[in-house]
Amino acid sequence: MADASLSLPAPRRVGLLARWETTPFHLFCAATVAIFLIAFLIVPVATVVFVAFWDGQGFTLVHFADFFRTSIMMEATWNSIYVALMAVVVATVIAVPLAYFTVRFKFKGAALIQTLGVIPLVMPPFVGAVAMQLVYGRNGSINLLLMDWFGFRIPFMEGLNGVIFVQGLHYFPFILLNLSAALANIDSAMEESAQNLGASGWTLFSRIVFPLAMPGYIAGAALVFAKVFDDLATPLLLNVNNMLAPQAYLRITSVGLADPMGYVISTILVLLSVLAVWLSLLSLKNRDFATQQRGGGGLSKRELRPWEKIGAYVFIAVALLLALSPHIGILLLSLGTIWSFSVLPDAFTFKHYLTVFRDAGGMMGNTVLYCGLAALIDVVLGTMIAYLVLRTKLPGRQIIDQIAMAAVAVPGLVLGIGILRVYFDVKMPFSGESVATFWVMLAIAYAVRRLPYALRSCTAALQQLHRSLEEAAECLGADKSAVMRKIVVPLMAGGILAGFVTSFATAAVELSATLLLVTRDASAPLSYGIYVYMQSPAGRGPGAALGVIAVVVVAVATWAAYRVAERDRAKRTREGAAA
């Protein structure tokens, strides 16, 4: 036995691959992912930052000095910060009471609030922006009514207010969802021990409940801030140009790709965006720490008293109406003949839809093609990354994962500028067209931007797969790629499909990168079409019709993904219950 050995046997030369639990197939996956991320994420973004600090010979801060000396840039900076913060405030005012209702009280409104949490997300803010002007603008439906009845107006949509209002209404679900989850995770023992020590009512809420839920709130608020700060399309459509993102876009498109100011702005956008997303992740990380105690349920729920119930329903009704107003507005706009200086359109017609189907069929085809390709790239890369991270010990796998996830913090505008800068002078082999404006590049840009969604979905699916399911197949003679095809992918199918649909649906309404990379109407997707139509008063009707079509596509796709995922899950658990 052990003591019989006087000298240890020579250590085997264990190959690095074996030590990393990696096969050539895994290396191939890692290389594919790495090349994609380097070529289409790291190099473009790094180039943008590099150009901002480059004067032709070496490092310089001159461009930044110029930026801070230019009064219009400073104004744009403060406007962007102001708008982003105020949008957080608007979102908070709507989301915090709703979140509190769902976790604290027993009433049927909770289901309504759940619905409320999804409705705004299916329509990007820029689609609804023009319609919102017709509903809430100076001469919009609401102000006309207010004028008639009470003799005053509320400047919902004046200048920056419009951006704040539209964005706040669109993004409040981010806070609602994160905060509800955080509140629901609080162990009842946390609350009970405080009650046991004499705390109740407002003291209990402000000293115990809210601090424990704070990380969830911050996570949501930071995301809202970052999204609003980076958004290009909504300010452009509302004709608000004195903000950072529109300034960068106008600089690049009017002054040209060589103008350094666009890169300085982009660098600032990336920095703030990364900061906000990092803050959001950080606060979520600490949440487990605060509330992870097993055994207890959530906060205790109580019935609402009658007058409280009325108050709650009135609040929900108002919030629901506000959340739905872009949808209602866009639908009215798409069906109306003329809508100007009136509460409702003068008459209704389907001709805008006919126009759109006649003229914009190509755009719909393009959207399906680009977004389908982007979503396909996303799920393939997402599955590969998830597999590398969860199933091998390959050095650097975490870095690949983090870089892919970091794409969430890169504004579409910045990615678009970066890709233009890097690939503009690269020509396609036969046509001589620039690679940067070739349609595949747009699909790739979408894929980079949406990769985090698909990746999260694939990772979650793979995490639920017990590793012995793969080992059993290996024992029975399946090599790594056969295991992937026969066991892993079929069992991850639900998650992969959900990732595909999420990527597809969100890419379909992406506009920032689209505006930069589309040069000809013939190769333009739906989102670009909406933008172009909305520029002219005559085009608003067809633009709105396109918007409705986009929203329906996104909503149906989201619903389908949800159903597929549910059925997939139910199929397994139902059978388990029947046994």
Partner: protein
């Protein structure tokens, strides 16, 4: 079905600070039912996984039927493994699960159908081919896992704690079934468990592992009767371990404790080990006297803990209707059967 032996030659696993296996050697004979027994963290599952090809030893070699398979990936080994969690693929029917390994081996379709049916019949689940794994009970899933492994006619069968997810009654039934199946097929089998009763019941030979090393290797009764060290004595069944000195002539002395008539090869510092049922209690203080500290009635036996000097001795007495019971605090004499005791250095 070609049956093979397994040689594990001086295998280590893990690097410096995280050494999981340390210079392990053993040989499993053809057709033998072999068990790796040890507490959690002893390295027994790691060793089994190395035989299956999951992981590469940092030193040493694994041979199946004399063939060095150390660098062979799992899918080229033809070593069948039944997983603790069964690892049945939920997206395939029972029949599809069982057919998988045959499909990987390009067996013709008609033959696959025949062999799948035969394998399911073998485990008594002939009628369940079209079910999904989630529709089966735990015991049935276990049988499917066994059938899926046996159908490829592996050279060696590996079982990783196969019964730990079943309830106590089913565990006893299943272990008998597995043993009978193994005998019928004459299959070389390695069985990992932390349950000594399970290992004793099924195995021809057992390797007791702890801390990544083999502590002792032998037939179940031999291990129980002649433990090689303190760990094995305490891990297999209950043992009284008393540290002291062995004198010339087979006498053992410790503070307030002495035992004569041992067969001890040499004098010196040692530990005497004896089983609770090798002690008889008497009312008069004969050679050794002590005081009853605890008494537990276990049904067939009564277990006493008796203080002898500074030592505690556990004593099992067979219970009968008219047997004498001693109360806590009673003074008793102890007679230890020295021929059954072991001396551990």
């Amino acid at each position: 079905m070609s049956v093979a032996g397994v040689d594990i030659e001086r295998v280590s696993f893990g690097y410096e600070s995280t050494k999981i296996l340390d210079d392990v050697s053993l040989r499993v004979e053809k057709g033998e039912f072999f068990a790796f027994l040890g507490p959690s963290g002893s390295g027994k599952t790691t060793l089994l996984r190395l035989v299956a090809g999951f992981g590469t030893p940092s030193a040493g070699a694994v041979r199946v039927n004399g063939r060095d398979v150390t660098d062979t990936p799992p899918w080229k080994r033809n070593v069948g493994m039944v997983f603790q969690s069964y690892a049945l693929w939920p997206h395939m029917t029972v029949a599809k699960n069982v057919a998988f390994g045959l499909e990987r081996r390009d067996v013709p379709k008609s033959e696959i159908a025949r062999r799948v049916a035969a394998a399911l019949d073998l485990v008594g689940l002939g009628a369940y081919g079209d079910r999904r794994p989630a529709q089966l009970s735990g015991g049935q899933q276990q049988r499917v896992a066994v059938a899926r492994t046996l159908v490829i006619e592996p050279e060696v069968l590996l079982l990783d704690e196969p019964l730990s997810n079943l309830d106590a009654k089913l565990r006893v039934e299943m272990r008998q079934e597995i043993r009978e199946l193994q005998r019928k097929l004459g299959l070389t089998t390695i069985y990992v468990t932390h349950d000594q009763e399970e290992a004793n019941a099924v195995a021809d030979r057992i390797a007791v592992l702890d801390g990544g090393r083999i502590q002792q290797l032998g037939a179940p009764m031999a291990l129980y009767d002649r433990p090689a060290n303190r760990f094995v004595a305490a891990f297999l069944g209950t043992a009284n371990l008393i540290e002291g000195d062995v004198r010339e002539g087979g006498r053992f002395e410790a503070e307030g404790f002495a035992l004569d008539g041992l067969s001890a090869p040499r004098a010196g510092r040692a530990c005497v080990s004896f089983r609770p049922h090798d002690v008889t209690l008497t009312a008069d203080g004969s050679t050794l006297s002590g005081t009853v500290r605890h008494r537990e009635f276990l049904g067939g036996t009564v277990r006493y803990v008796v203080a002898v000097g500074k030592h505690s001795v556990t004593v099992d007495t067979v219970h009968r209707r008219d047997a004498r019971a001693y109360d806590v605090g009673a003074a008793v004499g102890l007679a230890i059967d020295a021929r059954q005791a072991s001396v551990l250095y």
